[in-house]
Amino acid sequence: MRYQLRALIPRLSRESKPGKMRPPMASRSSTGVGIRRITILVGFAVSALFLLLAGWRIDWTGVWAAYAHARWWPFVPLAMGCYILGHVIRGVRCRVLVRNDARISTLTASNIVVVGYAVNNLLPARLGEFARAGMLAERTGMPFAQSLTITFLERLLDGIVMVGLLVVAPLIIPVHGWVLQSVRVAVPVFGAALFVVLLCAVAPYQVVALCSRLTAGIPSVHDRLVRLVSQITQGLSSLRSLRSVASVLALSVMVWLAEAGLFLFILPCFNLAASYPQSVVVMAATNLGILVPSSPGFIGPFHYFCMRALGTFGVAEATAFSYAVAVHLAFYAPVTLWGVVAMAWYGVELGTVAAMQRAGRSLAELPSGAHPMRLITPLVRTSHEPRPTRLMRAVCEALLPAEGPSGSREAIVDRVSAFVAGQTEALPGLLRWALRVGLTGFAALTFLRYGRPFPSLSLERRRKIVASWAWGRLGLARQLFRALRSTALLAWYEDPDVVAAQNDPGHVLGGPDV
């Protein structure tokens, strides 16, 4: 089935009022349905198996006793609060991950995340991941594959943080047995995934070129593969900035540290000592465990791995099982409820997901006359003028002549620093990085020398410092300032106010007092 070009590019709703997703009509393939049915059946079987393993030879009277003596208040609400906080932080992280392509609010992003979790809790085969990607695509206008890549990236980040926590945990508390072994398996798996993801993020052209070259002989496969890979690399574009990488990693750690609260606050319900490191280990092991495909809500694997992980700290099986059931309920109920409300609000219809996925597959002719030109994929681009940092503005101000057209110097400095920021951003990648690193070094050294950030120093002092770098004896320092000084001076003397003042015979503009 072929769609019109416009139909392929979802409207960029970008924070427009919530509306219904309207999936294009698509036919179902019988093989797809068959495979999905088998997946669902296997999922339920796995759940049953793990429940059996968890309940096998358990002392049920011990379980009832644990519940009879459990103290719920105020621990359960606290636990749920932590879990919900984790989802809000997930929303912030999602916002950061799509920042290059779209702007969404934290509330929308959190709703998207929670809808994914709710669907996973209600439907089998991790359909929630698709629902989440579909809703992200609809809310942002990004292609579906790109949204799915972002969802995958969030999962990968979660995995990496959990493995990281399990690697660090033995340094704080003793961790034994299978938990440690699972780390040995998880590290290479997540390491390999991370490598592929980073490769796609930092060398997108190389990856697309490789795929294109491998399939150039089969145009139909070629276009689909290139489309998919381009969308994947676009989805990972946020990883190209060190600042974004640092912030998504920090947010991921925060997500899990908050979520560990869920595991922490249920411990005292069963008269268990509330140990934060212990809850972190139990949480990490449980979450790695539920990667096993299972029934909706991860029933079975969740209980089994949670209980076994707590068991490694010497907790009796019956108590550990009771604990696992309670944690699962606190994990399941609030998010499912929130997700269902969000779905109702946004009008998400379950089942749109696969249709959206298929819709993205068709190719369209580009309306450009007779020349054979085929559209492979829309590219989402946000072009915005880079804004100068405080440091950049302070440096520019110190480079410029002290005298300016009366009254308008500040405004000209603003324009000059905006121009310099745009120019330095336009430098080819490696040089841009070198300049950034150099400027950071400059800021750090001046801070160490003067005990205050460079922008807080007086203009006079700044001018002296900048002069000693830009026109000093050290060649490297001069090179660092070369682009800055020449673009700043160019912009100053091309500025309309300065040009007007220059044409005024009485005005003197030259001469810095450096």
């Binding site: 052209y205 489309r227 030109m373 002549p401 336009a426 002069a467 000084r485 091309e494 001469g511």
Partner: protein
């Protein structure tokens, strides 16, 4: 028309090489689509100030430095018409001895002056090459005074700017439309012959099946500002993306044989000079003469001038020289350019968007010629009556006497202190029959590939030693006609 002639041709780039190729092939009856990464700008937006011009017309906003032991500032155009929209239009034919050298060293066929004559004539007619009308501007007159005082050979260089009104907007597009850039000449002619120009369309990769190139992958910008990745099929692809982008595109596509290994440039050292008399350089055309006495090792000529450009030039010694900004009206700018026999290369970066990394290592000979050139230019300007000469060399703020100037005939300028620039780059994919040093045959067909041609400044076998646009256009015309002829003969 035969079936072959109806074959579809994609031309990547619409600069001197691309527009010539497109126009020649469209007029020969081929179905031509030109993909141009930059945008089409209306003439009303031409002639803006330097800062807006950089944003509008230049690649990376004019921030494409060449890295190496001595970093060199380099700019090239990125708009419909390519660098011809922002250049000064100085016109030279390739000197006969250079063409002979290309024959001898690269086995370049059909490139003797007689072979190229009709192609130069055609290009000169299309771009109305002519001398600047009298009276010559003050900056040219003081320059002539200096050259005559030194008794050196020189010429007034004709330009592609018949009817130039001297409003000094060459570097951000000629507002008056006098400059016969590609957007004013060959592009309308190509469109009239049926060629289609897709602007905002960046070729990211060449598609090939084995050794046959079948089209390109391109990022296309639509009218509403959205963009898409598209596949454009073609029977023949002419890559004319300029001296840095052509090798980068080829290498990104896995085509590497002698591609991007031999970039050459004309390194330039600029100086400003303050006179007692007003020159009004900021409101007149740049000095139009070139000193030929020391060619081919070095050329001396006039540089583009505005107060922003003057500030950049003075910025190497700003604490000492900035006062000169108050006399901007009595100052002019000149350059020393050397033939350039250092080694350069172009490599697409492995990361990010694959933008090219351009390298050039200034040779000792380059530096010696630049030092001697500074000595000669400064002497010339002082002989013409300049009170101070400001070279763009850190630590040498001013030269006030001929004795100070001639020191650089023997001494070498300190490498780490010179600020060099260039606007002439070429030879990154040399053509010729010598398989051991050329990327393509004498007519631009890339060695080892079917349906792939290169036809821009990158094909010059080595440095022409003169402003290159004329040579680029003549060779591009010759190659396009050769292609059409070959197709016609089956």
């Amino acid at each position: 028309m035969s079936k072959a002639l109806r074959g579809q041709i994609v031309v990547v780039g619409s600069g001197a090489g691309g527009a010539t190729t497109a126009c020649s092939l469209a007029q020969a009856g081929f179905d031509v689509v030109v993909l141009e990464e930059g945008m089409r700008h209306p003439i009303e937006s031409y002639g803006c100030n330097a800062t807006d011009g950089m944003r509008r017309f230049y690649r990376n906003r004019g921030m494409t430095p060449i890295v190496g032991g001595v970093p060199i500032g380099y700019v090239e155009g990125c708009c419909l018409g390519g660098s011809t929209e922002v250049n000064c239009g100085f016109w030279h034919r390739v000197p006969p001895e250079v063409a002979l050298r290309w024959r001898a060293q690269y086995d370049l066929q059909d490139c003797e002056p007689d072979d190229l004559e009709p192609h130069f004539c055609w290009a000169e007619e299309q771009t109305s090459v002519s001398p600047h009308p009298e009276p010559l501007p003050a900056s040219t007159q003081v320059f002539a005074r200096g050259i005559e005082a030194m008794g050196w050979r020189y010429q007034q260089v004709p330009r592609t700017a018949r009817g130039c009104i001297g409003d000094n907007t060459c570097a951000s597009g000629c507002r008056s439309g006098a400059k016969q850039s590609m957007a004013r000449t060959l592009i309308p002619a190509a469109e009239a012959a049926g060629a289609r120009f897709l602007t905002g369309c960046k070729a990211t990769m060449l598609l090939r099946r084995g050794s046959r190139v079948t089209g390109v992958l391109a990022e296309v910008t639509h009218e509403d500002g959205s963009s898409s990745l598209a596949r454009i099929d073609a029977e023949h692809v002419f890559v004319c993306a300029g001296p840095t982008q052509t090798p980068s595109l080829l290498r990104r596509s896995g085509i590497k044989f002698h591609v991007g290994d031999t970039l050459r440039i004309h390194p330039m050292l600029k100086v400003a000079a303050r006179f007692d008399e007003p020159l009004d350089s900021q409101s007149s055309v740049l000095p139009l003469l070139q000193v030929k006495e020391f060619w081919p090792d070095l050329s001396i000529g006039g540089a583009f001038y505005s107060s922003g450009h003057l500030a950049m030039l003075l910025s190497d010694n700003w604490p000492e020289t900035s006062q000169a900004m108050n006399d901007a009206k009595s100052i002019g700018a000149w350059y020393v350019a050397v033939k350039g026999n250092g080694k350069g290369s172009v490599r697409p970066s492995m990361t990010g968007d694959g933008a090219p990394m351009i390298r050039y290592e200034l040779s000792n000979e380059d530096l010696r010629h630049l030092s001697q050139g500074l000595a000669r230019l400064a002497t010339l300007l002082l002989a013409a009556g300049a009170r101070e000469v400001f070279p763009s060399v850190h630590g040498i703020p001013t030269i006030r006497s001929k004795l100070d100037a001639i020191r650089w005939l023997d001494d070498l300028l300190p490498r780490g202190a010179v600020s060099l620039t260039t606007v002439h780059a070429f030879s990154s994919c040399p053509i010729g029959e010598r398989n051991d040093r050329c990327a393509a045959d004498s007519f631009g067909r890339v060695h080892g590939f079917e349906g792939l041609y290169i036809n821009d400044a990158s094909i010059l076998p080595d440095s022409p030693g003169v402003n290159p646009q004329g040579t680029v256009m003549a060779l591009a015309r010759r190659n396009a006609l050769h292609f059409a002829e070959t197709m016609r003969n089956g």
